[in-house]
Amino acid sequence: MDILPILSTLRRHKITAWLLILEIALTCAIVCNAVFLISQRLERMNLPSGIAEHELVQVQLANIGNRSDAEARAKTDLAALRQIPGVTQVALVFQMPFTDGGSSNSGIKLDPQQQEDTVDVTQYMGENLLSTLGTRLVAGRDFRPDEFVDLDAAVTALHSGNLKGLPQVLVITQMLAERLWPGQSALGKQIYLGQGLPFRVVGVVAHLARPNRLSKGVEYSTVWPISMNVAQGASFLIRCAPQERERVLKSALAALKQLDPNRVVLQKRTYDEARHAFFANDRAMTGILVGVCLALLIVTALGIVGLASFWVAQRRRTIGVRRALGATRANILQYFQTENFLLATIGIVIGMALAFGINLFLMQHYELPRLPAIYFPVGAIALWVIGQLAVLGPALRAAAVPPVVATRSV
């Protein structure tokens, strides 16, 4: 197929041709980046939490007024929850992976003399936390009961720098271990908090994501042998079989209400609901991005259809002459397909440069990584296909123009 005649025809419709190229370029640039944003959001929404997500329910209560027997109350509450049929594990915890609201975070150091913190980690605490969450221990051990310290006692000890009143050990995630001591076993290693207070790693879990502040490292999590009670803001975390969750949640609320009716329920939900709520914004944004991509592609495809139809109608006579001079239907079809291919190609080349520019802008303002190279060929093919599909209708109509048109004067 000779492209020279096509180019010379296009030269007579310069502005229209450039407008179509511009439209294809803009669509290409925006869609490439939007699809990339979608993939980022999907990746975020599918982050592994490292816990038994479908087996957990959460109940958060709040006392009315101050009470002195919070620790004793916690013990009776936990005992009552364990009695509920179907409940396998129970814990009082402060935070869960991928939830909004309060989270406990701290900078840690590898050397007591160090000025800057090495990494910012989140601090999980609560008795029986690891087995209730269902995290997988890959090295070392879980805490012993005698290692636990009450939160208020630990804070007091921290203020006075009294090492005795503080927990001595902690458990960290594999990801954090690899960040702190690449290629080595983390067991027995020391980390430092505050003004050089030392703590020893006794266990490593496979995965455990942070509650929020994910940009500081999704799995930079630490677990501490610190026990908490309802007055300190802890919630009950109950583990049971997935199909038992609704029933267990009801029984748990009833049992807790019976033990002390003078409490307010702040939160009652399954972990799945909590996670769903945390990613609600990402889900909404993904929906919007998908909608915009579809709308853009449809508008562009319709634009191509409209423009091609015009050109076909305008060139009816010329087509007729060509047909009368011996051009086959396939020749005419090919002509319009090649024309579209040329316009799309120029549009795609400009669009890719634009996509790269937009990506640079997004990288600066939205902490987005670089657009992977694979997006360029895939985006190009997608637009070529859409262009060809859009032009097919008008091109077929052009091919159907009978040679006799050439002999008629309008």
């Binding site: 925006i30 003004q195 423009l307």
Partner: protein
């Protein structure tokens, strides 16, 4: 003439119904999407207190130890109990208020209502006059009440409706966390957005239901909500920290002119030097004094997603416009023969231009009206979203005007180029070829 052009335009548009629909729909979609996102951005980046915002300032000092010190670092975003008290008592500004958020259990006396939790603000007397808080009944409290940790509260009108059916409840007692407090005031409709005075709790929340003196809340050992940052061996549980190594309070001042602000900034530097001399601060003075809007900007209150959506929508509008310009141009050029005849019969270029512009204008205007309807639909969809700012997404008269201008501008822009191009044709050539 205009009526005739309009008739011509309508006739021409009716001839290619599908194409007309495509052009109108493309403009409507583009404008609808742009206006929806722009309205959300406009609502979220608004000034919470338009009359007062330029006299309100948020002082920051840096009380940390020297660990991790780096000279160009920002100071802490809140103040510690010690610094907050010192700055409050210094009274160097026209008005000043120290505050933090909390959640308190409300125990209604009516047996029909179960106890429930309500967001609270623990603050000092100047909060109400400084922020221009409107009262429905009663008034705020004074400095003497702060000093004596008076057992009193101010409640929001929503809470007053819930507990007292909207009647004047001043003088009545309210049980909070097992303590009875006297109601001295009920707020009017006061709900600044964003929630500028404490961005830790939430950016676009409803305002708190309960306001009480900070001193009273500390007396009653109420837990506080919001972010806590500690350094050295500081650490905090749910109980507020009074040791001075954790920041968890917000401090606002009112300074009526820039000269006063400059003087106040000097004072903050002197204060930091004095505290360093005392051994409390270890870093060289590092202070900031941002005004209200500056503070909101610094905290990037408007969610990044919202800005991204605006960019996306305008990109979409641009594609839709280019699409429409291209189609309109092709359509006008197709009618070159007809236009050539009109020129040959004596119509001036200007008349032709006017005729084509009317046709473009009809498309643009229909697209604009469609866009407006789509914007209403879009905002309704935004309001169904689970975000905290969802309920705020409404079109105000200002944005309505912007929509019309945008639609008009977009349609003229879309029509100008095709109309101008179509006027350039030489009549003789067109007549000859046919």
């Amino acid at each position: 003439m205009f009526a005739y052009y309009l008739e011509l335009a309508l006739r021409s548009l009716m001839r290619n119904r599908a194409l007309t629909a495509l052009m109108v729909l493309a403009i409507a979609l583009g404008i609808g999407a742009s206006m929806t996102t722009l309205t959300v951005l406009h609502v979220l980046s608004g000034d919470p207190l338009p009359e007062r915002s330029n006299t309100l300032y948020y002082p920051q000092v840096d009380p940390r130890d020297s660990a991790g010190h780096d000279s160009d670092k920002e100071p802490m975003e809140q103040v510690s109990w010690t610094d907050g008290k010192n700055l409050l008592q210094a009274k160097r500004a026209n008005r000043q208020a120290l505050m933090t958020g909390g959640t308190v259990a409300v125990q209604p006396t009516q047996s029909a209502l179960d106890p429930f939790y309500e967001d609270a603000r623990f603050t000092t007397a100047d909060f109400f006059p400084m922020f221009g808080v409107l009262f429905q009944y009663g008034h705020g409290w004074n400095a003497a009440d702060d000093d004596s940790s008076a057992r009193l509260v101010v409640i929001s009108s929503a809470l007053n409706d819930k507990l007292f059916g909207g009647k004047d409840s001043t003088g009545q007692m309210l049980r909070l966390e097992g303590t009875a407090l006297r109601i001295v005031g009920v707020l009017g409709d006061w709900r600044p957005n964003p929630h500028f005075y404490d961005l830790n709790v939430t950016n676009y929340a409803e305002s708190e239901g309960v306001y009480m003196p900070l001193s009273t809340s500390q007396d009653l050992q109420l837990v506080h909500d919001g972010s806590v940052d500690c350094w050295g061996n500081g650490g905090a549980g749910q109980r507020p920290d009074h040791s001075g190594t954790c920041v968890w309070l917000q401090f606002w001042v009112q300074l009526d002119n820039p000269a006063q602000a400059a003087v106040y900034k000097e004072f903050l530097v002197h204060y930091s030097q004095e505290q360093k001399a005392l051994g409390r601060f270890q870093r060289p003075p590092n202070v900031r004094l941002r005004n209200l809007m500056g503070w909101l900007d610094y905290n990037m209150v408007v969610p990044g997603d919202v800005r991204l959506q605006v960019w996306l929508a305008f990109g979409f509008l641009l594609v839709c416009l280019v699409n429409t310009v291209g189609l309109m141009l092709a359509k006008f050029m197709r009618r070159a023969g007809e236009l050539g005849v009109r020129r040959a019969l004596g119509a001036s270029r200007r008349a032709l231009f006017g005729q084509l512009l009317v046709e473009a204008g009809v498309i643009g205007l229909s697209g604009g009206i469609g866009g407006l309807l789509l914007a209403f639909l879009g905002l309704w969809l935004v309001r169904q979203q689970p975000t905290s700012y969802a309920a705020l997404a409404h079109l105000d008269p200002w944005m309505l005007l912007t929509t019309f201008l945008l639609a008009l501008g977009a349609s003229l822009l879309a029509g100008l180029l095709p109309a101008w191009r179509a006027c350039q044709i030489t009549p003789a050539l067109q007549l000859k070829s046919n």
